[in-house]
């Protein structure tokens, strides 16, 4: 045997493993219980990511170092600030460019069934692109044309068969915010449950749709710094120069703002609750298994105490059992969840991915689950009295 040749010192088989493997049926029940809890947790997290994936698409695809928003904004597009502040920001030392960004819902009439819904408008100055989306930046000349728009092919079908009509070469006008506009290009950004879809238009067309007052109000200012400029210094300087109502955020902060807002959505809380439920189910199952294991072997544990095993050594056995159960139960759990994720992806059309971070998070939850259950179950161990053995 290959392993026999390794110069590793041979070690005793852990008692925990002997106990667990001796009762196959109980082990099987324990492992399926843990997998079940894992699947519950993974599904909640999967639903959650299916629902919220894409909420940070737009802030994430902005191309800038520092972002100006109204201090009271809870998410991108929530509140506005006066456009003139952008010019003041441009004058702050270290700021290379300061560009406008509008992000606003607009009414939208589905050309196929004449039903009014809404869409989200991204408006930029075509001479000052602010998005890291090549398809948009390649079509800035099209954006510039009067009453024309780029349409997000990943928008929900309830907006109408816009992409199909465009690729078929039909040039039907669509009513956006009461004005007839035409699609002259497409891009792919992605929608989510809270946003049906996006169009990209020029700031001039934005003014035509919403009027001068609104065109004077920006949803964000996208700033790029000069090479070598210190972002902290520039942000501090911006905060000092600009009025109190404006805050300067880094790109990460902007994305976090968005995430934090959506995390407070009731739906998100429901999924968090579901995750906790899965965790509790897991704790109860592992506890049940460990408790009956300790209880059934109480006289054996008392014997071990009588022949000189300390309480600590026996506690360790139970914690080892918990760890073994957690590790072994996690594997079928994550495998089943991967399968269910792909089913979920197919059903919703939203990519539900098993992210490494989520996998690790659930794995550590499973370990905590085991240790917690063990911590409750070992209280029973104290009742193993060596004096009862004689």
């Amino acid at each position: 045997m290959v392993f026999g040749k390794l110069p590793l010192p041979r070690r005793e088989k852990p008692l925990a493993w002997s106990q667990l493997s001796h009762q196959r049926m109980r082990l099987l029940v324990a492992l399926s219980g843990i997998s079940f809890a894992n699947i519950l947790i993974f599904m909640q997290l999967g639903f959650r990511s299916a629902m919220f994936s894409g909420t940070t698409n737009v802030p994430a695809s902005l191309d800038g170092d520092v972002f100006l928003i109204n201090k009271t904004s809870q998410f991108l597009g929530n509140e506005t600030f006066d456009k003139s502040q952008l010019y003041r920001a441009a004058a702050v030392p270290g700021v290379a460019t300061a560009r406008p960004f509008y992000y606003s819902p607009a009414s939208w009439v589905n050309p196929d069934n004449r039903k009014t819904t809404n869409i989200t408008v991204i408006a930029i100055n075509p001479a000052q692109p602010v998005m890291a989306v090549p398809a948009i930046n390649d079509q800035l000349a099209l954006v510039e044309q009067t009453d024309r728009m780029l349409f997000d092919v990943k928008s929900l079908p309830s907006l109408g068969a816009i992409t199909q009509a465009f690729t078929a070469g039909q040039d039907t006008p669509i009513e956006v915010q009461g004005r007839k506009m035409r699609v002259n290009g497409t891009f792919a950004l992605g929608s989510n449950i809270f946003k049906r879809g996006h169009i990209v238009i020029s700031d001039v067309n934005y003014l035509r749709l919403f009027g001068a007052t609104q065109a004077n109000q920006l949803h964000a200012g996208v700033l790029k710094l000069e090479p070598g400029a210190n972002i902290q210094t520039v942000m501090a300087e911006l905060e000092r120069t600009l009025p109190e109502e404006i805050s300067a955020l880094s790109h990460t902060e902007l994305i976090e703002l968005e995430q934090n807002y959506w995390a407070k959505e009731p739906a998100g809380i429901i999924f968090d609750f579901g995750t906790i439920m899965g965790f509790v189910v897991g704790v109860v199952i592992v506890y049940q298994v460990l408790y009956s294991d300790v209880n059934d072997h109480l006289s054996e544990y008392a014997t071990l105490k009588a022949i000189g095993y300390s309480d600590g050594q026996l506690l360790l056995v139970v914690f080892q059992e918990a760890t073994i159960l957690a590790v072994l139960g996690f594997m079928p759990g994550i495998l089943c969840s991967l399968g269910l994720y792909s089913v979920l992806s197919n059903l919703t059309g939203v990519a539900v991915l098993m992210r490494l971070g989520v996998g690790l998070q659930v794995f550590s939850m499973t370990l905590v689950m085991g240790v917690l259950s063990a911590a409750i179950a070992v209280r029973k161990l104290r009742s193993a009295d060596p004096a009862d053995v004689f």
Binding site: P9, L15, A306, I307, Y309, P386, F390
Partner: protein, 233 residues
């Protein structure tokens, strides 16, 4: 030489306050190294209680109780646990771990001995199982052993660490007279080889002859000491 067991004025009671029920009353007993002592007496007279106190399985309350040089009255939990690993116990029920093979059960006692390698433990465990006549059953689990075989594994577990003191509480009670006799003779032989002291509680008259001394207990007191020849008659 210091006695292996030295008990002076030991009292023990179960329950507290006015409900306290004395079970051991003024016990005085010294057992010398290499002695085999049998303790007999009616049911409820306190034999098991005395044994469990001597083994550090219960805390001693009053009097002096010196085992293998360690005073147990007032000893801490750590000292009791340490003492337990130096004593060989044989219980009335075999108390083997069901999930472990004969050899693994014997190893459980060896695992507590410092300075033994894995291979040392294998050698010692197999040799001891050989000595109790179970060399061909080392990989059997208790479920697949007979009552006598289980008790012999338990003896191997108690003796494998070469303890200086063995406490046995009715080790033959679950066995027929033939295998009961074999088990006791085995203990006697191994004890002589390892020069250890044995205190054995039994109701079984047929095994009294292996003892150097027989002590009778009644109502919590040691009432009489006899030599085996006198007792057998």
């Amino acid at each position: 030489m210091e006695p292996v067991v030295n008990i002076e004025g030991l009292h023990h009671a179960f329950g507290k306050g006015s409900l306290a029920k004395p079970v051991l009353i003024d016990i005085n007993l010294a057992i010398q190294p290499g002695e085999i002592v049998i303790l007999t007496g009616p049911s409820g007279s306190g034999k098991t209680t005395l044994l469990s106190l001597m083994g550090g399985l219960r805390s001693a309350q009053q009097g002096s109780l010196r085992i293998l040089g360690q005073e147990l009255t007032g000893a801490g939990k750590k000292q009791l646990v340490e003492l337990r690993s130096r004593i060989g116990y044989i219980f009335q029920a075999h108390n083997l771990l069901d999930c472990l093979t004969a050899q693994e059960n014997v190893r459980m006692a060896l695992r507590l001995q410092p300075g033994l390698s894995y291979d040392d433990r294998t050698t010692a465990a197999t040799a001891m199982l050989d000595a109790v006549g179970l060399g061909h059953r080392v990989n059997y689990r208790p479920d697949n052993l007979s009552g006598g075989q289980k008790q012999r594994v338990a003896i191997a577990r108690a003796l494998v660490t070469q303890p200086k003191l063995i406490l046995a509480d009715e080790p033959t009670a679950a066995l027929d007279s033939q295998s009961g006799r074999e088990v006791v003779q085995l203990m006697q032989r191994l004890a002589q080889e390892q020069n250890c002291t044995i205190l054995l509680v039994t109701h079984d008259n047929r095994i009294l002859d292996i003892a150097h001394r027989i002590i009778h207990m009644e109502d919590g007191r040691l009432v009489r000491t006899e030599s085996p020849t006198a007792a057998v008659v």
